[in-house]
Symmetry: D2
Subunit: 336 residues, 4 copies
Amino acid sequence: MVVFMKNNASEEEVEAVIKKLNAFGFDVHRSSGVSQTVLGAIGVSPGFDHRIFRGLSGVADVQRVTEPYKLASRVGRDTSTVVDVDGVKMGGTAITVIASITSLESILQLKQIEPKLRSSGVSLIQGTVLKPRTSFYDYHGVEEEHLMLMHQIVDECGFKLMLEVSTSDLAEKTANYASMLLVGARNMQNFGLLQVLGEINKPVLLERGFAATVEEWIMSAEYLMRAGNTNIILCERGIRTFEVATRYTLDLSAVSIAKSKSHLPVFVNPSQGVRLRDHVRPMASAAIAAGADGVVIHLQNESMNVTKSVSEALNLDQFRGLIEEVKQIGQIIGRT
Amino acid sequence: MVVFMKNNASEEEVEAVIKKLNAFGFDVHRSSGVSQTVLGAIGVSPGFDHRIFRGLSGVADVQRVTEPYKLASRVGRDTSTVVDVDGVKMGGTAITVIASITSLESILQLKQIEPKLRSSGVSLIQGTVLKPRTSFYDYHGVEEEHLMLMHQIVDECGFKLMLEVSTSDLAEKTANYASMLLVGARNMQNFGLLQVLGEINKPVLLERGFAATVEEWIMSAEYLMRAGNTNIILCERGIRTFEVATRYTLDLSAVSIAKSKSHLPVFVNPSQGVRLRDHVRPMASAAIAAGADGVVIHLQNESMNVTKSVSEALNLDQFRGLIEEVKQIGQIIGRT
Amino acid sequence: MVVFMKNNASEEEVEAVIKKLNAFGFDVHRSSGVSQTVLGAIGVSPGFDHRIFRGLSGVADVQRVTEPYKLASRVGRDTSTVVDVDGVKMGGTAITVIASITSLESILQLKQIEPKLRSSGVSLIQGTVLKPRTSFYDYHGVEEEHLMLMHQIVDECGFKLMLEVSTSDLAEKTANYASMLLVGARNMQNFGLLQVLGEINKPVLLERGFAATVEEWIMSAEYLMRAGNTNIILCERGIRTFEVATRYTLDLSAVSIAKSKSHLPVFVNPSQGVRLRDHVRPMASAAIAAGADGVVIHLQNESMNVTKSVSEALNLDQFRGLIEEVKQIGQIIGRT
Amino acid sequence: MVVFMKNNASEEEVEAVIKKLNAFGFDVHRSSGVSQTVLGAIGVSPGFDHRIFRGLSGVADVQRVTEPYKLASRVGRDTSTVVDVDGVKMGGTAITVIASITSLESILQLKQIEPKLRSSGVSLIQGTVLKPRTSFYDYHGVEEEHLMLMHQIVDECGFKLMLEVSTSDLAEKTANYASMLLVGARNMQNFGLLQVLGEINKPVLLERGFAATVEEWIMSAEYLMRAGNTNIILCERGIRTFEVATRYTLDLSAVSIAKSKSHLPVFVNPSQGVRLRDHVRPMASAAIAAGADGVVIHLQNESMNVTKSVSEALNLDQFRGLIEEVKQIGQIIGRT
């Protein structure tokens, strides 16, 4: 931590800050220039809230030096984490494509397309769950008994199932039917939920909040890891910006940054970020080229009822074309 | 709802969209120009998801016309809502200042400053609660038994208590000790929590999410109201922007906009938005001038331990000066 | 300047950075902790580009400590600057309302409303000029000879004229007819234009760019001042954010921040920022309450042709009501 | 254009708007529902400012339907534009890598690295020019006579030269020495400059402004094209968002969107957007995978003086590795 004193800070103020820093167990190195004094505090622990010092008399600014996370940090870790989802390895040299099928009807018809999905290398399906929505008046998801049904069908087809959990009281129930759990962007800082999921032994795909910095995103992963769950995958799905051509702005730099800061795998959901079908394939390819370990892509069964249709879902042929392209790009950058 | 067809949309595509609109019960008015056809769909209900139409062949864009909320809307309501918090009226012509005291030690010493707070017209105190934090390593709040203690002290001083609820399982317990509940910015779209608070008969102060539009903010209020709780107050506390001089950018236009769109009272928390003590008073005054019905201000007891100090809290004299100023500004714009 | 070395930086890397810092004339104070070394460099001059050090081997981050501006800085200045616009004082204890009349027809009819404007205390009129627009197809402003006509009418009415300059080659010509020049948001970092205006002896109202931080805004003021023009007024008019309810998000915290960082007067243009007539008055009042020294308000003559009408312009009665309100608010916070 | 009337708009107000629409030459189609009337106006021309209607009594909102640009639009154009820069083709199936060498010293040593650059397929060099900078105190670029020197060296090495133009008075002079001109992000809406460059017969690389939407970016290209210059290439280099890990957020969705809206080639400058060396290569590859026609990459000569070093520049080996990777990715998505 570095404390920048105000230009006109008095010697008494400087000394009061040094005394306070010592009281917290810091070694202090003082640098005094013509107009300003800077105090370097060595020895800060992750749990210390450096903002306390902002309120002290004579202090202009306080900058944290060490990262506010430890378990998720790449510092001191030579290898990237590989998460095992019931036998499917994610991260490392693997490229994973998760098929997100958000209509129950389509999942009921999964067997029709199962051979084509399998031959493309898909092994994980995101199903649809009981989920409160932005508007009270919107569609609220399927009934609970459907979880069991979805699990059964996905299992019979030989795939693993990923399900979103949006409230802590549904966490355990959902975990019974899923190989992997999803924390949506809106819940990235729902710390009550993170605490519960940290105590359940299932891999978690943690979406980045729409207004969360990369640092805050990794801090939420740290939260899950501290609570006991180390099988975490980060997932970028777009941030809020002034641009209105896309619903969110997919931040692919965040993939490269997150992988340099953390040893955890990083996925991208271009379907959610862009919300326009024609742009899903180029953005999925770009995500892999940027270093992502996998993508989540909305898939839509041709025969499905239009009332459940969404503007970003690909049909099976588009979906298979996308997988072919991201595989080839993955090979160029050293993936298998 | 208005459906804009692509420039080169075929007659078949246009007719397919019209047929689909009719199937959903809409009256359709067709406007065909030289290069483009526009379909006006009259009769849309709030629960209808207009995005379904974005996925149809030949459709360029779909625009919702009616607001996606009803109970919270100003349309058809002549009067602004006044929320009654155990006898304290908020909204209407009243200007309310809530003192936020986020350290338990300071609340324990509330009696020392009670006469001065009362003479300034304060009637509500925000206390501090069990609350998961951004970083797992940060301070996690006070023990549960302290809720009772806080309630007792605040009650003996003759004030009402507001407490934050951040997970649904703590909602009822917290409601037992509080006259008003707070939903923090991070939970504005925690719909599981909103559902529970909608069923509890306590006024709710609903903070705007850091990346939420005014429309989404009102939709979260609508969510609470649909669930049965009509005593909702909106609270602006800053949005995420590129500006780094303040932690968040306090969006005071949102106050004026929200009051024109909704009949609910709108508060502002300038302490959280700006996070710099010197700017709290001007921003509180600006909030009232912009039409806010009240402000939430961090107050810090002079004698409190610096380890709990925060950079935006005012001392008692600054706090009383602020109240004096906002009262005078309130009078100019017709408040009492 | 403070240089943060990477956790695993070698002693050779640390020493290379120290040597380089010394070569630039810095005194270096070294703080080495268990895992990281921090170097405090004392003596930095404003012209030094600290980013050079980011590229060095072993460097994790570089933080500037001193502000990147001098002439515009409040440091070392006890008093706020008062700008004299041909006898009209702006800043200090004064509150100024500039009437922006962007239609030539309306200015031609200025004499009709002159007594009412004068009795409200208006002394400055913003006229309309030759100005390239966002779209090539939009209206490009009035002919050059109209500058003279505008000047004549505004002068006969006893007001001062403010005119926008958007290209350097029009600067001198425009300056001949105006008492004050305006640099629009899009030109805040048009340094060629700033250089020219810095050499012309006319006060400049410098609008903040839509994506400019407060620091960059003050740096553009510094640019003008370094070029020789010290009569600069800053003007906030909204920044780009994700919020779509208003065209821009008026950042009133920026007023309070800019006034604490710089001795220059700060104005606000709520008409441009909000673009919705009903919200102009509350936001103008909020601006003054936040500490602004003046506001620029779009005024529209009742009788003017609707083809020039804009959605944010006030009519004369609304305009006079606004002035009355901001005057009263100004008095509360110590203005005259 | 579609005009949405307020819910309580009177019949008089509706008819007044229809009359006004007719006066502007529109055919009007009226759709009246239970609570709201919507007016479809067919026949709008690009030069019409639809905002005029926002100010009318009873109007809730006005939405433009047609794009605000024509010459740059993909509508009605089957083929993508290929720009010819003195024999080098950009766009179409080509992938171009421009080497940006922003230090004069490095350009003077260009012959040393010329064979390696050539064998990697580089044909364009971005040089460094007289350029006003953000801070008056920063380095202001090289002397004018150096333009001629740069041109001579780059020409002798058999490359083409691209130079930035930041003020209209330098446009012609710079054009004498360059095969291609660059409009920087800060000047994207410097319409005076665009007008001049539109009249000069040199290809222009038009960077997207930090706060410009994709639509505004294309509108600036339209501006240049209307003024007579059709050899325009768009260049994404990052937008301002709340994320602080990178200097700007590179918006690669914008590449895919811009290419679907316009027939012009789209380039990306990942060096400027990310400003961190380690992330330039993945983001360049991601740009090509997203559909970009080329990238601009900062190259730094090993032997160059550190005072000109920048944190994002690649050395020659890194640069050649990047070219190899983007070529391979280009092949996968059908480039040559």
